[in-house]
Amino acid sequence: MPVKTMREALTEAIHQEMERDETVFCIGEDVAGCNGSAGKVGSVGGVFGVTTGVYDAFGPLRCIDTPISESAIVGAAAGAALSGMRPVAEIMFADFIGVCMDQIFNQMGKFRYMFGGKNVCPAVIRFATGAGFSAAAQHSQTMYQVMTAFPGLKIVVPSNAYDAKGLLIQAIRDDDPVLFFEPKALYQEACEVPDEPYAIRFGEASMPREGDDVTVVAFGQMVGKAAAAIDSLEAEGITCDLIDPRTTSPLDAETILESVEATGRLVVVDESPPRCGLTADIAGLAADRAFHSLKAPIKQVCAPHCPVPFSPELEAEYIPSPEKIVAAIRATLA
């Protein structure tokens, strides 16, 4: 099977869906690139390169550069989605959600409920998420944990290239608004990815490691770190289930609970700050529905309650490391 980076897998998903369905189009800042300039229009393909070649393949009506106007971009995607199209909007860094929040959660995310279930709103909004590049406080946040709190939005956080392709195809085909968070630290990470299109259903976790002693749930960039932590413990005879929910809304609670019932121990890992976040959410789920299976207190591994720092030393402390995950796993076994 061909090996592709997450970036390539995402690009392939967009091309394949645009070929399959002519209502799909891309919109955002520099998704084509070079408009109005001396350069070749379409030669940028998004600042992370995910819409590479889309302009050349599908032209200016389906690969649309915008001014820097995030509220209008999301609103335009929402309105087009209410009007029979399937927009794939790019908002570059997830931090910029701050600029277009109303259009996301008050408008797009609530149409279906407010309108009594009469409409669909098949919009996808893509973001690059997470830390790791010293991009500092306004270009490094995860934000998916915040957005998971809003009913009406589906939230996707892939952890590898294979999932990224299948989940993006599902996101485009899905009739609800989907926020698709691409961990920017993983764009260059590669794995085997089939050439043909495939969709991965939302709300179905994957289990990249299976074991007996501890259940580890991790999201996005943290899945790889958790896998490294788990692998480092194997020599000691400690084995873990590693669960990657892949979508935080809908959440595959059953897979998590089944695993916790079997292992009796739970570590939840996310790179967001701790308050009102995913680790607390999953810990709450287990405490509520698997309490009697638990043999040890649940451990949460997350970032500190602070903005993302610039300095590499501070950022390394901010992002949960395999060492911290190992310590948490050991703590549940102590």
């Binding site: 690139g33 109005g36 350069g39 915008t66 600029v99 010293s134 270009h139």
Partner: protein, 324 residues
Amino acid sequence: MSLDKESLLRAYRQMKTIREFEDRANAEIMNGQIPGFTHLYAGQEANAVGVCEHLSGRDSIVSTHRGHGHCIARGADVIGMMKELFGCADGLCKGKGGSMHVADLDKGILGANGIVAGGPPISVGAALASKIRGSGEVAVSFSGDGSVNQGTCFEAMNLAVVLKVPAVFVIENNYYSEHTSISYAVGTDDLKARTEAFGFPVFVADGSDFFAVYEAAGKAVEHARSGNGPAGVFCEMGRYYGHFVGDPQGYRAPGEVKALRQDSCCLKNFRASMEEMGDLNSAELDAIDDEVMALIEESVVAAKSAPRPTPADVATDVYVNYQA
């Protein structure tokens, strides 16, 4: 232009400092010494300096992702800034902010900004504080040609008019926002008219000419300071580097940057005017060049040997009085 010798020397020194700071930052980024995303201001120096030469005391500025020039022009400590770019524990922001978040509150620098058009509303607040206090300061926001399409920019401009506060909106047109030309992204052919329709005057200048910027900014600052509400300054100028360090710059015409460096260099323009006017001789300017080079070298040496932040610093400074 009624600038005394001391002011002329200072203006040149500021522009030269920005240029050398940026050239050196670029080199250090290429060497892998400076982490993160850095956006350089080289080529645009006359704009920051031409505006900031009108500011003093508690006059404030709010800057952008391309903020080094504004901060230096408003008097930020250059060594502290270089240390901040390197992420040092004793950088201007303790290594927590980096290039995109340089701030020096004591100097009226309310921060560079990673969010396009994040700054204009903040400057309206600073101007409002001045109005309520009756203290006469102006608040300047710098933002790019890309920022004018952001709702926050519109809202700030209108609010400043409604509240009649001494805000000055300086729009720096360097022709591009990332990889997109202003001719595509701004729908009107007459951005000046569109902006003036908010209800304040906009003064236009060639951003590679210090004296032109100084004159236009002087009118805007005077307008705001005398209680007439906000004003705008529009300058056009090219940036010498990419959008960020590492940008392949496919949007440029062949030879574009070379031409910019040749024909619209504010330092060369300044020297030429001085020769014409005879106010300063080239030896005086050469001496400044040497001093600036020494300062920048000193800043890099200091940054390379400065203490690094430790893990214990990560969650400090989140709140004034509450440790998370």
